[in-house]
Amino acid sequence: MVTAEQVWEALAEIPDPEIPVISLVDLGVIRSVDVSGEQVRVEFTPTFLGCPALEMMRDAMAERIAALGAEPEVRVITDDSWSTDRITPEGREKLRATGFAPPTPRANGGPQLVQLQSNAFRCPYCGSRDTALENIFGPTPCRSVRYCRSCRQPFEQFKTI
């Protein structure tokens, strides 16, 4: 019989479809794993509600669980339990190492424009804080685009939500 630990290990091998360096477990989107006999129930939250990879992630999780010989039930939860603060320290380091600046901690009341225009953001390549907001939006809903004035390199900033 499959254990919850085995399920977590299997889920940790599923890459985020849009940022494949990081896994679903690193992202912190898997809220719970419940094993009951042959049945495995997983609850997960989308990062952004308009995420086009939602079905893909759900199918990938169901496939991995079925491969362990269990019967999967994957539920999408659209409550407020996910924030970028849930991304694990390992996940943050993986993001940074591939040129995505990890999200800054969420302040009370959420992010403000004045903060986005401040020097609170570090370039993932050279570490400088001399970076400017280029665009609040980027190639996927979870990213903004910034520019590092020190190493003259544009980079993607994971939005804090």
Partner: protein, 188 residues
């Protein structure tokens, strides 16, 4: 919350999402092309989650609510129905007016007795914070432009107008439901 109010919210987000996506590829700057496409994607994602809640109450599906009603059954505000391409000043004015009204609506819903709805509203609000910052940035930039103030004055009264529809909504509906109507049982 009753299904009719959920539908008002979902219809607003769906139709505004489509309207925003009309800038994809033709916005005046590449940054805004990306911004409006991304905002459109978020709004349609919110619409889906809201339709799913309403669908459970009404015993139907999100897709049926989004695409199988006739245009006059939609409950969206006139504000989101107007086709504004290629008028950038009015597009930004709508963005500002909508985000302000949406913020008030989300604040009220976050306090709802219905825990599921309150949770969804809080999640939507995390994303909307970025739409509001984007709207704020543009409102500051265009503050002294007469075309922008005129557009605000023109569009503000449309927020609560839901009972009559503009002919433009029918045209958008034709486009939006074309694939679904052409294929029996088609899903998105």
């Amino acid at each position: 919350m009753n299904a009719q109010r959920l539908l008002e919210f979902a219809d607003d987000e769906l139709i505004l999402g489509w309207r925003n996506s009309e800038w994809t590829g033709i916005a005046p700057m590449l940054e805004e092309d990306v911004a409006f496409s991304s905002i459109a994607q978020n709004e349609i994602g919110h619409a889906r989650a809201l339709y799913e809640l309403a669908a459970r109450e009404l015993g139907t599906t999100a897709d049926e609510l989004a695409f199988d009603r006739s245009p006059d059954e939609y409950r969206c505000s006139k504000l989101v129905q107007v086709r504004l391409v290629p008028d950038w000043a009015r597009t930004i004015a709508r963005h500002v007016v909508y985000e302000r009204a949406d913020q008030a609506r989300l604040e009220a819903l976050r306090g709802s007795d219905d825990a599921e709805l309150a949770g969804l509203a809080a999640k939507i609000d995390r994303e909307e914070a970025y739409h509001r910052m984007h709207a704020q940035m543009w409102a500051e930039r265009l503050a002294d432009e007469p075309r922008f103030s005129e557009a605000l004055a023109e569009l503000e009264p449309l927020v609560d107008a839901r009972d009559e529809h503009l002919p433009e909504l029918g045209e958008l509906w034709e486009e939006m439901t074309m694939v679904r109507r052409s294929l029996a049982g088609a899903t998105w």
